[in-house]
Symmetry: C2
Subunit: 618 residues, 2 copies
């Protein structure tokens, strides 16, 4: 009779203490869990005046009320931190099997502060928490780290999140990896973990999950699975071909970033990078995260050529675009090699590919010379150079040391001309999802709390696939090329955020396959409260506003909501958006209006925060 | 830019550790502070399966957002605990100067758990917290304890809350005293503190208070002071004559408890216990709590007779009635002596007087014999016997040991006939405020979270003085004798609870002198948020419902909402309520309807908790 709430494990690595705290039930009421509750706690714990790598800064892992349950696609956890790359709030989210293990160990939140005096890893077995020596693991790749820890403490039921050399060396786009290839990605959480001398977190959970109404959950989960496979894209593309199937769709729409966004389609890659070529060139096995009937992941092994034998998770669509089309590379083996190495080094494949594409354009512009690259030929399309750069960046060797700080900082070093090719927002590199031909995505990229972001929400899914959803009020015809009129982004963004709060996968929501009301039913059953679709969206709206307010504390406002100049001034050269640039002001105006954010500052109005019960943030 | 929130000091006496926690801003948004936030925290910390004296049980002192500010009557703190007398939530509230000191030391909440291995006192000087030896203080009275601690650590700015022998010996109606005579009273908080081996809490605070808008606060405070003195009762009675002035008013109305409620007026006490007699018989000085322009307190010294020279705070109205009319005593010197001794022993004067009055009726009934009393003649009106019993109860000597457990437990020992004279609800003794002739008060006594309660709200003020208040919607003519129709109790109860949440005095609200909207302005200025009168009342409604839910966890429901049989079956013998009994069912039905509580269980309906955002408590 204590209400649905959460339990937090606090670990201070500086003094090696652990404490347990109960999370207020009101936070689960208002923010539901996962990213919502983690962000709320982050508000209280983060230091505004210190950067993301300061030992005092917290990193907060969180599971959601659906994590590890019978709800489909429920294997997600997030980590909230201050991004060393952007200075904004950092929010990374991973699937795999780590999240259910953490939750089954009895922890809804894991809060890590401080810095160990030497490399350590954390071993959490239900209530038993140990800080163990990781000196012998330092310098190891992610696979080797996972294998060594499993050997040390037993593999049975053990799930591990770890960093590779990239995180150790403070590469500003280092990830935390789990299941060897699933990534807590974007914004450098791996660098934050490295700065704490924390190599890995190993978790074994054996407790039953707290589910208020297991029967109702089971029923709603069945409905959710049915809805998932009633959606053609999920059933006919994502399930059988995984994310590589995006490549063809996105290229066909003419929004594929090519040659560092100079072009928006890549006809030269036909039959080389497309999903059929992918499944022929590489040895492919599908991979599913916990409880996922989609199984969008691919595990591949390189069959021939100089990289033969290299294997691992992916490359997923983003990696194919990042190391492939963006770098004008058509050699899928090189792309796969870059991907496998990057994952094992704990690099973010999206940022890494973008950094390399930018470096190639700088090379083309003469801003980077062969002397500076140590003899490496960064001509467009040189797949082997891409693979080499991945290694150099991860270890901060040669030119890799400059590039390891991301395109924004590297451009600052190379002089004013360099910014033109530095495709980033707020210091986070662009992913591979159209902007000029997807004006919804232009809003997402410009305003997202964590910088250039294609996922909060994945607006190009609405644009590209023409999704409509009555429950979200997205019923009209949306002209993907139209500037302004961006109110529809709001409910879609809320649904996306809700999935991060519940601990489920974006691919089950951005496809609009599972209804918002079905998510609400699942949540109600898990939490034992009546949560409507509108409750769900409003809770998400709170979290979106909270992140906006946190960034405001860090000095961010409308002035920072911008896009790379290329999108504002260079008309898209081909595809459906041919000739288009982005009218940023028009888009921001209409979006801020819908959000209840002040037009001048771009920050939530007092009345908006009052409506959401967040005016105590003022 | 972190929002209005509070800071809590946790002291675990078992392992002598102290920790600091920030309280979620949402709690200050939803429950405002003081009793509201303390009760919310209590929900998380209390152990349902252990009694109030178990070392693990928390006692939570709390100040409110107005405590210590320029708002009038802002010297209040509360303490929340599980009552060892009733088994319900315990809530005691004191004025004086302790609360502002605690707040100026930087603490909104002080949470004490565990039990020291020997007597200790807590010394809090801003952030410096010490657990000091109190072996030499054990057994001392409250005055001697305060003086000794001041001698030890310096009197300047030091404020002390302590227990006397009564708390040490686990008298179930022992208080915590501050300023030597102000009481955290009712329900035995002194026994809880004694069970922790905690003799005293001494606080020195030197920090400025966090006030969001000092100018707005100053302005609202001026309005509040003006409103206070525009009210005739405050201006013409409470201010010049203090609470003893109640005696005449209540006797005149014929609701004065006399001879243990056998009678409801006491003509024999005219010119002996009335407020003019009081000011002539005793040497009287007014006393004011922090920031209080009313100064209702009296300090008295006995001028003549066998108790000459005894001095202290009070007797206030409740003590005059408890030791006087209830015991049929007309000797004001004996009444004052009993009061001064009881305060210094750390006894609750209300419960102590009621226990003695009950003992006198048992003596009359032959249920207590002179043999059992150790030769003490408990004939009605024997003031000296009252004084003797006070001593015996405080030290649990002779018959005092039985009586120290309160009338309910004592009656259980004396057999079924004894219950008739045991005037209590849920184990808390009656105060001195009419029930049969004040049907609003019958609701308060039957349903209050802490047992027989005359203050939550002080409904007889509405009844007796005919107060009306448009802001509270109390505009109709209320027939004080009418059963049923108790909806008006709800807003008045909310206003009363609000004062406990804000850290201000009930005498500024139960007189309806200061407008609810003025309290809201004061609160807005202190917290830096727009808080309307309705926000204030709704926040209080949340806390009232929360206390109801906490008691539900302890097993309480409608079956426990009852009154002493005398009020249900014996018609009032005189006064304006002559011939009246209480129709409890009718009153409960109408009140539960207004509260949104289920008629059968008497507990908040799901929809009520949902409306208040409290359904996570289900």
């Amino acid at each position: 009779m204590k209400g649905y709430t959460g339990r937090a494990l606090f670990v201070n690595l500086s003094n090696r203490t652990t404490t347990v705290q109960n999370i207020p039930a009101e936070w689960y009421r208002d923010y539901l869990g996962g990213e919502g509750v983690a962000v709320r706690l982050f508000w209280d714990l983060v230091h505004d005046d210190r950067d993301g790598l300061a030992p005092e800064q917290p990193m907060i892992f969180a599971t959601g009320p659906l994590t590890g349950t019978a709800a489909p696609c429920s294997g997600r956890a997030c980590v909230i931190f201050r991004s060393p790359a952007t200075g904004t709030i950092g929010a990374a989210n991973a699937g795999g099997h780590f999240a259910p293990a953490l939750k089954k160990a009895g922890w809804d939140l894991l809060v890590i502060t401080g810095k160990a005096d030497k490399p350590v890893y954390l071993l959490i077995q239900d209530d038993k928490v140990e800080i163990r020596d990781a000196s012998s693991l330092w310098g190891q790749g992610v696979k080797e780290t996972e294998d060594a820890i499993k050997k040390e403490v037993g593999a049975q039921g053990l799930q591990i999140a770890s960093i590779g050399p990239a995180g150790e060396k403070g590469v500003l786009f280092a990830n935390i990896m789990t299941d060897k290839h699933r990534a807590f990605g974007r914004g450098g959480p791996g660098a934050v973990m490295g700065a704490k001398n924390l190599k890995a977190i190993a978790v074994r959970g054996t407790q039953p999950l707290p589910i208020a109404d297991p029967e109702a959950l089971k029923e709603a989960a069945k409905a959710a699975r049915d809805e998932l496979f009633a959606e053609a894209f999920v059933r006919d593309e994502l399930h059988p071909y995984g994310t590589p199937s995006f490549y063809d769709a996105i290229d066909a729409l003419g929004i594929l970033p090519t040659r560092n966004w100079q072009r928006t389609s890549f006809p030269q890659s036909k039959d080389l990078l497309t999903y059929k070529a992918y499944h022929e060139t590489l040895e492919v096995k599908p991979y599913a995260c916990f409880g996922c009937p989609i199984a969008c992941g691919r595990h591949t092994k390189i069959k021939s050529g100089k990289y033969a034998g290299l294997e691992g998770g992916g490359p997923e669509y983003e990696a194919v675009a990042a190391f492939g089309s963006k770098c004008f590379v058509t050699d899928l083996n090189a792309v796969a090699a870059a991907n496998h190495l990057a994952n094992n080094f704990g690099l973010d494949v999206i940022s890494t590919g973008q950094v390399i594409a930018t470096a190639m354009e700088w090379y083309e512009m003469g801003l980077l010379t062969k002397e500076q690259t140590g003899g490496l030929d960064l001509t467009w399309g040189n797949g082997d150079a891409v693979v080499e750069l991945v290694k150099m960046i991860a270890h901060r060797e040669g030119i890799g040391d400059l590039l390891a700080n991301g395109v924004k900082r590297a451009a600052e070093k190379l002089g004013p001309k360099a910014e033109k090719a530095a495709m980033h927002v707020k210091g986070l590199e662009m992913a591979a999802d159209g902007v000029r031909a997807s004006k919804g995505e232009s809003i997402v990229h410009a305003t997202s709390a964590r910088g250039a972001d294609h996922l909060r929400p994945y607006a190009s899914a609405i644009d590209a696939f023409g999704y409509r959803d009555e429950e979200l009020g997205i019923t009209g015809d949306i002209n993907y090329l139209e500037d302004g009129n961006k109110a529809w982004v709001k409910p879609f963004q809320e649904l996306s955020m809700a999935t991060n709060m519940l601990g489920v996968c974006l691919f089950a929501s951005i496809t609009l396959a599972i209804k918002t009301s079905t998510w609400a039913k699942l949540t109600s059953a898990a939490m034992g409260r009546t949560i409507t679709k509108d409750d769900l969206l409003k809770a998400a709206e709170r979290v979106i506003n909270m992140e906006r307010q946190i960034n405001a504390r860090f000095g961010f406002d409308r002035k920072d909501d911008t896009l790379p100049e290329r999108f504002l001034k260079e008309p898209a050269p081909d595809g459906r958006g041919e000739g288009e640039v982005v009218d940023l002001k028009k888009n921001l105006d209409s979006y801020f209006e819908a959000m209840g954010w002040d037009q001048k500052s771009g920050l939530p109005k007092k009345e908006t925060l009052e409506r959401l019960g967040l005016d105590w943030m003022l």
